[in-house]
């Protein structure tokens, strides 16, 4: 008798515990990322069904990742900025500026003889723009949105002046061979994306830099009173974001074999969308690199499916918008469940 009554109670309890565990898992970073993996797999199934071998071929897969790599690198830097509770709207323009400056250097023949100089110059331009952003935000107490919006406008203008609004073609052979080359069958641009993502993951999860970033995003005043030099760290964060814009600038210069002031227009929005879809909270304090990479891949697979099936790009834009809203809605649900307490 007692056995008979005990059994259902016990199973009800264990199912209760199981659902609690499931909910906790879905609320955790790994859980949110597994949701993104499922979304990505669904898209891949859609792509395979509609596109067949054209979609699943290795060359198409490499095309997707190669096209994803430029905004992907931007999104890694953006992830840090957003986790800290900031935003960087200037990355697209800074990308354009660094491509123009690097191309000018190549045309001026200084870099023609030693092409890695182009890369150094592009990175330096991105870094410098980021440092300026950071100083204005941290020490000038200007809201990140405004400071980087100003940089977005100014960097574009600066790039237009330098390039005289013309597109300069890059003819430096060493550079073109490098950027168009591959290693172990994987294109250089994809390697750069992989390396930047891996470095970003280590930086965020294993270093004091990452810990400080999360702390500042989670509670800026608490971080300050704990002795963290918050202002200096904010300069570092925007410098990092600028640096990734410089890397993306040289990547796009290589992919298009040209430098122009219009490079990277609106890329900042793609990067921000990928970061947010990837589960990073816009208010800061929480986010993952894996989520950002998945967010980038989701958008690029989607683009590829539309292109493969010759579908309207306007419909594609609407679909992207819908994905952003759905992803944010889902995340808010889990975030609220995880955060609520007595």
């Amino acid at each position: 008798m007692s056995n008979q009554t005990a059994a259902p109670v016990e199973s009800a309890m264990s199912s209760n515990r199981a659902s609690a565990t499931l909910r906790r898992f879905l609320g955790s970073a790994a859980g949110r990322n597994s949701g993104l993996v499922i979304a990505l797999l669904l898209l891949i199934v859609v792509g395979a069904v509609t596109g067949g071998d054209r979609f699943t071929s290795i060359s198409n897969v490499l095309t997707i990742v190669r096209l994803a790599s430029v905004t992907g690198v931007l999104a890694i830097g953006m992830t840090f900025v957003i986790i800290s509770g900031g935003i960087d709207l200037s990355v697209g323009s800074v990308l354009g500026l660094s491509s123009v400056v690097a191309t000018l250097a190549a045309v001026q023949a200084a870099a023609a003889s030693f092409w890695p100089l182009m890369i150094v110059i592009a990175l330096a331009v991105g870094l410098a723009a980021g440092v300026i952003n950071g100083i204005i935000i941290a020490y000038g107490n200007v809201v990140a949105f405004m400071a980087t919006l100003a940089m977005l406008i100014a960097a574009r203008g600066f790039a237009e002046i330098l390039s005289n609004r013309t597109t300069q073609t890059v003819n430096v052979r060493g550079f073109l061979e490098f950027s168009d080359g591959d290693f172990l069958g994987i294109p250089t641009l994809v390697w750069i994306f992989i390396l930047v993502s891996a470095a970003g993951w280590v930086l965020l999860n294993r270093t004091t830099f990452g810990r400080r970033t999360v702390a500042i995003g989670g509670n800026r005043e608490a971080a300050r009173l704990a002795g963290i030099n918050v202002k200096r760290h904010i300069v570092y964060l925007y410098a990092l974001s600028g640096l990734t814009a410089g890397i993306a600038g040289i990547m796009l210069t290589g992919r298009t074999t040209s430098g122009t002031s219009t490079h990277g227009t609106l890329y900042e929005l793609d990067a921000i969308a990928a970061v947010v879809v990837g589960g990073t909270l816009l208010v800061g304090g929480r986010g993952t690199i894996v989520g950002t990479v998945l967010g980038i891949l989701i958008f690029n697979v989607l683009t590829n499916i539309f292109t493969q099936n010759n579908l309207n790009t306007s419909v594609q834009a609407i679909t992207k918008g819908a994905i952003i809203v759905i992803a944010v809605l889902i995340q808010q649900r889990f975030a609220n469940r995880g955060a609520r307490r007595s």
Partner: protein
């Protein structure tokens, strides 16, 4: 005979006064963790019903169930004899239940009148009736004892006490029968508390019931009619008469054990104890006048004064969060660069701030990350953190502070106030802090855990840490400290041994100081 009849008649009326609100067996859990496991409560019209419980007992969840923020999973709410579901805050207001939260929910950028009528603006055909709103606001403010406040004044410019008045006026602007006050006296000084009590008495005279939540037993004794005690999400006693329930019994009901709220005895400071902290003529223009004092190893130094006397600002200046206009700070003989928290922390100064949640802790993050936040140098090699070492070091520290369970991976936001305070202490212990600045060390810490925190502070001081304590409870400052500095409106009124002065003595000094 007539007397007896009257007496019986009186009994009958009390007996038959039907409850305004009954809470029966209410449960609520979050992500599988039960916050309420069965709460029962019966509130009569026109009474002040106090709810007592330690932090984490479920008081806040209960308030939010009454306010319609959370929907209970089991149990029922009976409002004036009818079972009801309170689906959202609007429904609660519709029934006549208003809530004054501890974190005041006023909009800083709006005027007093706009705040009061927020959500039920006075308008005709979509056009706001500003003059009518101001007229009614003036009447409400007068009723609350603050005819001095102008309805058009921006709420952001008000002190916390003023914001609370606005919050209360907002509740009264609706037709309410029950008002829930969550720790309303936390932001008030004694004069304002008197005014609050006057208002509460007026409300109850009109038949409005008040649910009053406070940690301060003295207040409950003064204003309350009946008490309900909750512990671990369950009602342990309900409807106790305030007048005939001894404090000891209440504490036992709250904690499940006998606790005496006493301060540990002061240990003797060695004659050769070195001077650790030295403050020379620091001042912040418009906040506090030049101030000098020093604290020796093993000594607890208290700053006694009222809200707004500049106490917290003094601590924030010493720890580098505020740049002083004049003066210097020295730790163990070496000067500390002022105006930089990083420099102060490096020199061995640590602040446990007044608002732990907003200034001290990263609630989303696990305990160990909050503990090691100031000591990366100890856990990182070439910027790479050793999380294993962070966890094990935190665990040892949590165990020595008797924080249970000593699980370094628990999110800090899930801990009670007392345990959060222990996490703050653990941070500075791990850092090896020489000077510990404690601002309101027991704010939001329940009676049971207070004695524990006091004992820990004593222990730290005995181990050689120089400690500076600030508290709005003068009794606490005097009980903990070896010496106290009495301060009023940023002015030093004297430094004297804590044993030589009592609470009335401090207040006497403060009054005299502000007269001169």
């Amino acid at each position: 005979m007539g007397f007896v009849l009257c007496y019986i008649a009186g009994m009958i009326t009390v007996d038959h006064a039907s409850p305004l609100l009954e809470v029966r067996g209410v449960t609520k859990s979050f992500a599988g963790v039960a916050a309420l496991k069965g709460v029962d409560l019966s509130i009569l019209p026109g009474e002040v019903h106090c709810v007592l419980g330690q932090n984490g007992a479920g008081k806040s969840t209960l308030i939010k169930v009454l306010a319609g923020v959370y929907t209970p999973e089991q149990g029922e709410l009976v409002w004036r004899g009818e079972p009801v579901t309170i689906a959202d805050p609007t429904a609660a207001l519709g029934l006549g239940i208003a809530t004054m939260y501890q974190e005041l929910d006023v909009v800083d950028g709006l005027s007093i009148a706009e705040n009061i009528f927020l959500g039920h603006e006075l308008s005709s055909a979509g056009v706001l009736k500003v003059r009518e709103a101001h007229r009614r606001t003036r009447a409400l403010l007068a009723r609350l004892g603050h005819p001095d406040l102008a309805p058009g004044r921006e709420v952001g410019s008000l002190p916390p006490a003023g914001k609370q008045i606005v919050s209360m006026a907002r509740a009264l602007s609706r037709d309410i029968r029950l008002i829930v006050m969550d720790e309303p006296s936390a932001v008030l000084d004694s004069e304002e508390v008197k005014n609050l009590f006057r208002v509460v008495r007026e409300l109850t005279r009109d038949g409005i019931a008040v649910v009053y939540i406070s940690h301060r037993l003295a207040e409950i004794r003064e204003i309350g009619d009946r008490i309900t005690v909750i512990k671990d999400g369950r009602t342990t006693a309900s409807g106790l008469g305030v007048a005939d329930t001894p404090t000891r019994q209440l504490i036992t009901l709250m904690t499940g054990r006998d606790v005496e709220n006493v301060f540990p005895p002061a240990s003797k400071i060695a004659d050769d104890a070195p001077q650790v902290l030295r403050v020379d003529g620091i001042s912040v223009k418009g906040t506090f006048e030049p101030l000098s004092f020093s604290v020796r190893a093993g000594e607890i130094f208290g700053l006694a004064g009222l809200v707004g006397s500049g106490r917290s600002e003094i601590l924030e200046t010493i720890c580098g969060a505020i740049k002083p206009s004049t003066g210097s700070v020295t730790v163990s003989g070496s000067p500390v660069r002022t105006g930089s928290v990083t420099a102060a922390v490096g020199a061995g100064i640590g602040l446990s701030p007044e608002e732990r949640k907003s200034q001290g802790l990263i609630l989303d993050q696990p305990i160990y990350r909050n503990v090691t936040l100031s000591s990366f140098a100890r856990f990182a090699r070439a910027a790479f953190l050793n999380e294993k070492l962070e966890r094990s070091t935190s665990r040892v520290q949590l165990e020595s502070l008797e924080l249970r369970p000593a699980d370094p991976d628990r999110a800090v936001g899930l801990l009670s106030g007392g345990n959060q305070q222990k996490v703050m202490l653990a941070r500075w212990l791990v850092h090896g802090t020489k000077v510990l600045l404690l601002d309101e060390p027991t704010r939001g810490v329940d009676v049971g855990a207070r004695a524990e925190i006091y004992a820990l502070i004593r222990q730290l001081s005995a181990a050689g840490t120089a400690i500076v304590v600030v508290s709005s409870e003068i009794e606490e400052v005097l009980g903990l400290s070896d010496r106290v500095l009495v301060i009023a409106e940023g002015e030093n009124l004297g430094i004297l041994p804590a044993a030589d002065i009592d609470e009335p003595g401090v207040l006497d000094l403060v009054m005299k100081g502000s007269e001169s």
